[in-house]
């Protein structure tokens, strides 16, 4: 027994050494800011393995990272040397020019990073992606079996299934959805609008163009869905939607791949619920072929306002934090890792199906954050039946245009 413990300790020390060795010859400080969920904690831990006499590695992982990362990178020298971001949040950092192109560092030290993980904007690598995420169908096998229906592949089928579940008296409000007024609601509109084949802007400009047939169809479909949701849907974010699902109150929902693991584990729900949860691919809508969802990546960047030594140390540490070495039995299921040696678990099947179905990435446009905010503020009135779809879309467009003028995107 003792011998085994010693061997274990030695192997761990050795593997730690190996990890250290792959960090190369670096000096300076590495300071990480990012969102807080298990996969990112794993990355930060992997980066911390590079800490040594000449290198300090600290991390600040918080759900409020978007509120602090820009300010934390703006100083000179910057407080953080790297920000872990997603395809929407990199825009704010790009707009203010606080992250540096990584081409030199990649040429010198990053030959082993898969080319497909490099986020290239205007010919310059600005970030390195390490995981993918998307919203897709999650459903209860037992409930669908009871009504004798296959898992829906379109939103129209989902509505039909929901009606049958309600008619049979199995559940009063069988559909779940993160429709909380604000960011979540806007995200659902973006999904559904893309599914209807809509374009958000007049080509090549920042002029918004959502008050059209696709926009109205999008809102009509969202309203039809809310008819089968808990009446409090405008207060439900992803957490609350998951809680409703775990409580056995809903059977069909469009949910983030990164949150499926929590649903399928044996905590927080009865056996009949968690053992019957399954994931499907993304759904299409209105006879379209583009799935009504968006693809997301999470990746890391390097601050512009920091010394070259710090930048190199940060690059090496983050590369180590997203290297095949971080994958083990515990971390494998935390995300859809875009890392060599990753074996997909059943919880991640939905994200893979979404990528395969040809879903579009979330729009990476400098002014799209403003439209997202405007959508989140102006769609609730329509869903509550206080105004028409056209009015809600016109309000959104007006709110966006006002904001875009203030930010200098429109004149």
């Amino acid at each position: 027994m003792l011998l085994r413990k010693i061997t274990l300790a030695v192997t761990m020390a050795l593997s730690a050494n190996v990890a250290f060795a792959s960090c190369g010859d670096i000096t300076g400080k590495v300071s990480i800011v990012g969102n807080e969920f298990p996969a990112i904690q794993t990355v930060a831990k992997g980066a911390a393995d590079c800490a040594g006499d000449a290198v300090t590695v600290t991390s600040n992982l918080t759900a409020d990272h978007q509120k602090i990362n820009l300010a934390g990178l703006q100083g000179d020298p910057a407080e953080y040397t790297t920000a872990i971001i997603a395809n929407s949040s990199i825009i704010a950092l790009m707009n203010d020019d606080v992250i540096r192109p990584l081409d030199d560092l990649i040429a010198a030290h990053g030959a082993d990073i898969p080319k497909s993980n490099l986020i290239t904007i205007d010919g310059k690598v600005m970030a390195v992606a390490f995981m993918a995420n998307a919203q897709h169908l999650a459903y209860r096998k037992d409930v669908l079996a009871e009504i004798g229906v296959e898992p829906p592949t379109t939103y129209e089928e989902l509505l039909a299934a929901a009606e049958m579940i309600r008619e049979k008296g199995i559940m009063e409000n069988p559909v779940g959805g993160a429709y909380k007024s604000g960011w979540n609601l806007a995200q659902e509109f973006v999904n559904m609008y893309i599914g209807h084949g809509g374009e958000f802007y007049k080509p090549g400009t920042a002029e918004v163009a959502i008050n059209n047939a696709q926009g109205v169809a999008t809102l009509e479909m969202m309203k039809a869905l809310t008819g089968y949701m808990n009446p409090d849907f405008l207060t439900h974010d992803s957490n609350a939607t998951n809680a409703e699902f775990e409580a056995g109150n809903t059977a069909l929902m469009n949910m983030w791949g990164s949150r499926i693991g929590v649903l399928m584990d044996d905590e927080g729900a009865e056996e009949v619920v968690y053992s019957n949860i399954a994931v499907g691919g993304p759904m299409t809508v209105g006879g379209g072929t583009t799935p009504a969802t968006t693809l997301w990546w999470d990746g890391w960047t390097v601050a512009k306002n920091t010394s070259d030594d710090n930048a190199k140390a940060t690059f090496m540490a983050m590369k180590n934090g997203t290297s095949p070495g971080i994958l083990n039995d515990d971390t494998m299921g935390e995300a859809v890792w875009m890392i060599e040696g990753y074996k997909p678990a059943p919880v991640n099947a939905g994200v893979f199906a979404t990528i395969k179905a040809g879903a579009k990435p979330y729009p990476m446009l400098p002014y799209h954050g403003l439209l997202h905010t405007a959508l989140g503020d102006n769609l609730a009135d329509f869903l509550q039946g206080k105004e028409s779809a056209e009015q809600a879309l016109a309000d959104t467009e007006a709110a966006y245009s006002t904001a875009a003028k203030e930010k200098g995107f429109l004149n």
Binding site: K67, D122, G204, D232, L234, P361, L370, T373, K407, G408
Partner: protein, 340 residues
Amino acid sequence: MKHKTFLWFVLPSSLAMLLFIFFPIVSVLIQSVHVDTEQVIKEVKNCGPFGCETITAVDQEATQALKRDNPLGRFAGLSTYFDRRHLALDEVRAAWGNASGAGDFFSQLLNLPFYKAMSFTLAYTFIVTPLVIIFGFIIAVAVNGAAKWVRGPLIFFSLLPMLVTPLVGSLIIFWMVDARGVIGAALQYVAGDPNLSVKASTPLTWVMLMVYGVWHSAPFAFIVYYAGLQSVNKDTLESAMIDGASRWEQIRYVIIPHLLPLTTFIALMQLMDNFRVFEPIVSFSAEAHATSLSWAIYNDLGGETRQLSSAAATSVLTILGICILLLPVLVRTWRDFNHK
């Protein structure tokens, strides 16, 4: 006190106010009359794990050059104040012109973010403030009339709502009024409507926010009144009793006049606080039903693209609003002061 002594006495706090209140307000004022420099947009090729596409992006070199020339941004005068998100002059004028009647005009007005926020802010301020004063007074009189040995525990329990952190207090109530919570289920039973949901109805959400506001602030009025009650002139009270005044008459003619200056103080504090209502809207997730000026500021700063000028303009409008609200009370205090 000599003028010189007085000056030295208030100097530290005046300096602190200048540094931490006056200068920041000036900076907000300057921010509110500027907007960002023009962003130069160009088309770029963007590649990632999900393939390549041509998108628009900010031309950093050109935009940074513009920013260097105008570090404050472009001077915009009062245009941010008059745009659709604030006073919305053009939209209000258009609504005035094309509205079919007063009702239609108001519904068009309340569709504009500033007036929507204002309608809840004002309703909240003018309903919660008097209720806080009334409830605070009733609790104070009741506690003061209770036997000495229960007063300690009574005071403690009456103060609890104020001791609980606003965010935590409102979250607890939020869960209780949920359709499956204690209060929510009880309401469904009383109303005989199994689909009744407080969170899904705008009027009920407003009521919930206001009940929370009264619950949270009444202890403040209570403790001020309770302190005031300790200094009521016992002789006056006794002579009133000898003259045969009932308990109500004692309260009406002795206690209320005695506590009137305190009422001015509480009204002042509460008007200011309630006009800046914010935490309950966030923790009750009530954005879809009720917004306030403070929430609008938070929302402008919380998005992925921060809108500083808009937030600054709303801040200045909030300060102006509070000044207008407090004007009657301040004028009254000034008159009383001169009168003496």
